[in-house]
């Protein structure tokens, strides 16, 4: 089972982000997701939403590139999580920059809901730049759309378990996992949103999930600049992923 870690870059500030990033590198994980801060991260829950404001104030393209290159040098693939409303109309320039920084691809959470008619165009543009569009699906994504987008992309799939990040409403995890695996046979599917306990990770593993993505649960440790809290959370995630 794979582990993907999400951070809004550079929350809460550059110096603290660096410290936590260095700590992160001491652990084993496969994918790093870096959220590019935006004014309206409206599909995120309140925890991640709050990180965007501070991250935006401290944003630095040079430092972002440095972080991506460092992760790549350790065989960690780096993806950005960015709202399409952040770069619509300037896709070429934006994607070119991401590619040169070393990003492997992008997760675009508002593409299928707010820019549905532009989905194929964006996939083509990303292909041209050698960037993978990581399909972002939820329980509200219709079967035909999942099949269509999965057929036009090659990377792993990101599936949100909850209606928003860091939120917990009752969901049938087994059903969600079996549905997406049935619709996308053979594809690697990473599940995110609202995962914050070892038991949940173990249950997801038993259901057939290929990996988990974690974000909101790490934010309080970063907010309080508590490295011990951060370490113990990541250890807990590792234990869940390894089924200990």
């Amino acid at each position: 089972m794979k582990l993907a870690l999400y951070f809004t870059f550079p929350y809460p500030d550059r110096e603290t982000f660096r410290k936590f990033f260095d700590e992160t590198l001491k652990f084993n994980f496969e994918y790093l997701e870096l959220g590019i801060p935006t004014d309206h991260p409206y599909y995120d829950g309140p925890v991640i939403r709050k990180t965007h404001g501070k991250a935006k104030e401290n944003y630095s393209e040079d430092m972002l590139e440095e972080i991506v290159k460092e992760a790549n040098s350790r065989n960690i693939r780096v993806y950005t999580l960015v709202y399409y409303n952040h770069f619509v109309g300037r896709e070429g320039e934006f994607l070119g920059k991401l590619k040169s920084m070393g990003f492997s691809g992008a997760i675009v959470p508002d593409l299928l809901t707010d820019y549905f008619s532009e989905r194929n165009q964006l996939i083509s543009k990303m292909d041209k730049f050698g960037m993978a569009l990581i399909p972002f699906f939820t329980s509200s994504t219709p079967d035909s759309v999942i099949r269509d987008i999965a057929g036009k992309t090659n990377g792993w799939i990101y599936h949100g378990l909850q209606p928003s990040t860091g939120i917990k409403v009752p969901v049938s995890t087994d059903l969600i996992v079996s549905r997406i695996k049935e619709l996308c046979p053979g594809r690697e599917v990473i599940f995110g949103f609202g995962i914050n306990s070892k038991d949940e990770i173990i249950d997801l593993k038993k259901s057939g999930a290929d990996g988990i993505a974690i974000g909101s649960t790490l934010v309080p440790c970063m907010e309080s600049m508590d490295l011990d809290c951060f370490r113990s959370k990541i250890r807990m995630l590792e234990e869940g992923v390894n089924g200990i």
Binding site: Y42, Y43, G45, P46, R49, L112, T113, D114, F116, T138, S139, S140, T141, P142, D143, S144, V145, Q162, P163, S164, G166, I167, K168, V169, P170, V171, S172, L175, I176, R179
Partner: protein
């Protein structure tokens, strides 16, 4: 005793359209950037309802207890051929109507009230709270609550509370309590009344008060329309209609229904979404959400306590005129319905109160059933449709969402 054939018409699963939509449904969104109104749903909705709200499952099992309750309140409702109406219109085709007015509470609203109250009761809830406009939803909630041995409290839009005393009496007979909204029972109601002590109320205000009251008193809230889970429960209408048409060897060329929040129309038509049937949704011209509504995120309730939904809407602050069809005064339309209207799968019509009154008279005189003012809007669309030369020979099926026997004050002397 139930006839075996009747039991077989009632489906054992509700149908959820979300996995079959042509485009993804936009998720609910928080109104307040600092807090999560989605998280707040955990406090006010039964767990099972919340699970159904966000499920990707195409079908949800209907518990045996709910099937039994459906039978008790008059399901399956009849599908009747409106032969007299066909003759009067000189229509060279067939008109059928699904008579949801034949339920114990006289409208389709009981179809979702029963499962919501059932799940609430099963989770140990002792009281549910809701709002009502014209009174049909409040009546359904009160009956569903008493059948599931729980109490009910209903915030009724003040203008209806005063104009429709019979609805209050029925709710009381079922053991429910009603309060005129805006009321002094909630902070939001008090704030509205302090600005205007004679405020007539709106459905948006009543929803806000019901949700606030549920939060203040640790109760569960019952949702009358708009939300996915409600529409899923209402799919019983369309699924029964499908079986009834099949049993007589008919296919629906056209399906017509009225739209307030969209639950009766969606429940009636969504099970046919993959067929070639034409679908026409009728709203009130006085509440022109189809022709003048904006497609975007908007509030469900005026106070902004609930998550925003992406839908066709006239704006949560839209103050509808006092038309008789109180159930059509809501500012928005359910997200899945809005999406299908936007992409052209569902056509629309808007009908004036005058046209709906003429339709009510025509239907009463030909078929003997007094339709609800809301359903009369759909009948007006049917009449117009069946008078067009290009529609001759077609099989038209409409949903009679309720009867109008408690709305007779609208009939002109």
């Amino acid at each position: 005793m139930y006839e075996k054939a009747e039991e077989e018409i009632i489906p054992r699963k509700w149908y959820n359209i979300v996995p079959d939509l042509p485009e993804p449904l936009s998720p609910p969104r928080d109104h307040d950037p600092e807090n999560s109104s989605i998280n707040l749903l955990n406090k006010i909705l039964p767990k099972e309802i919340l699970r159904q709200e966000f499920t990707s499952s195409r079908y949800e099992n209907i518990p045996d207890e709910v099937v039994e309750q459906y039978l008790q309140i008059g399901r399956p409702t009849p599908l009747i051929r409106a032969i007299n109406m066909e003759r009067l219109l000189n229509f060279k085709g067939k008109i059928f109507f699904k008579n949801e007015g034949a339920t114990a509470t006289g409208s389709h609203k009981i179809n979702t009230a029963l499962p919501q109250a059932y799940y609430a009761g099963r989770e140990g809830v002792e009281e549910v709270v809701t709002e009502t406009g014209a009174g049909q939803w409040g009546t359904a909630t009160a009956l569903a609550a008493t059948l599931n041995r729980i109490k009910s409290t209903v915030f009724m839009v003040r203008v209806s509370y005063e104009q429709k005393p019979l609805r209050k009496k029925i709710i009381k007979l079922y053991g429910g309590s009603t309060y005129p909204s805006p009321s002094n029972m909630t902070e939001y109601g008090r704030s509205i009344l302090s600005g205007n002590p004679d405020h007539p109320g709106t459905l948006g205000i009543a929803i806000s008060e019901a949700v606030q009251y549920a939060l203040d008193h640790g109760l569960k809230y019952m949702m009358g329309s708009v939300e996915n889970s409600v529409i899923t429960h209402q799919s019983i209408i369309g699924q029964e209609t499908k079986k009834q048409l099949e049993a007589i060897g008919e296919n629906a060329d056209t399906l017509i229904g009225c739209v307030g929040g969209g639950s009766n129309f969606s429940g009636f038509t969504f099970p046919f979404v993959e067929s070639s049937s034409e679908m026409i949704a009728t709203a009130a011209s006085e509440v022109p959400k189809f022709s003048k509504g904006n497609y975007g995120y908007d509030l469900i309730d005026t106070a902004g306590i609930m998550p925003e939904l992406k839908m066709l809407s006239l704006g949560a602050d839209f103050v509808p005129p006092s038309i008789y069809a109180g159930g059509l005064r809501y500012h928005g339309a359910a997200p899945a319905l809005s999406l299908l209207i936007r992409n052209g799968r569902i056509k629309t019509d808007e009908v004036t109160e005058e046209r709906s009154m003429q339709a009510m008279e025509l239907f009463s005189r030909t078929q003997g059933i007094v339709p609800a003012p809301e359903s009369s809007h759909a009948i007006a669309t049917v009449i117009d449709y069946c008078r067009k030369p290009e529609n001759q020979g077609k099989t038209v099926v409409f949903n009679l969402s309720g009867h109008g026997l408690l709305d007779l004050s609208v009939v002109r002397d």
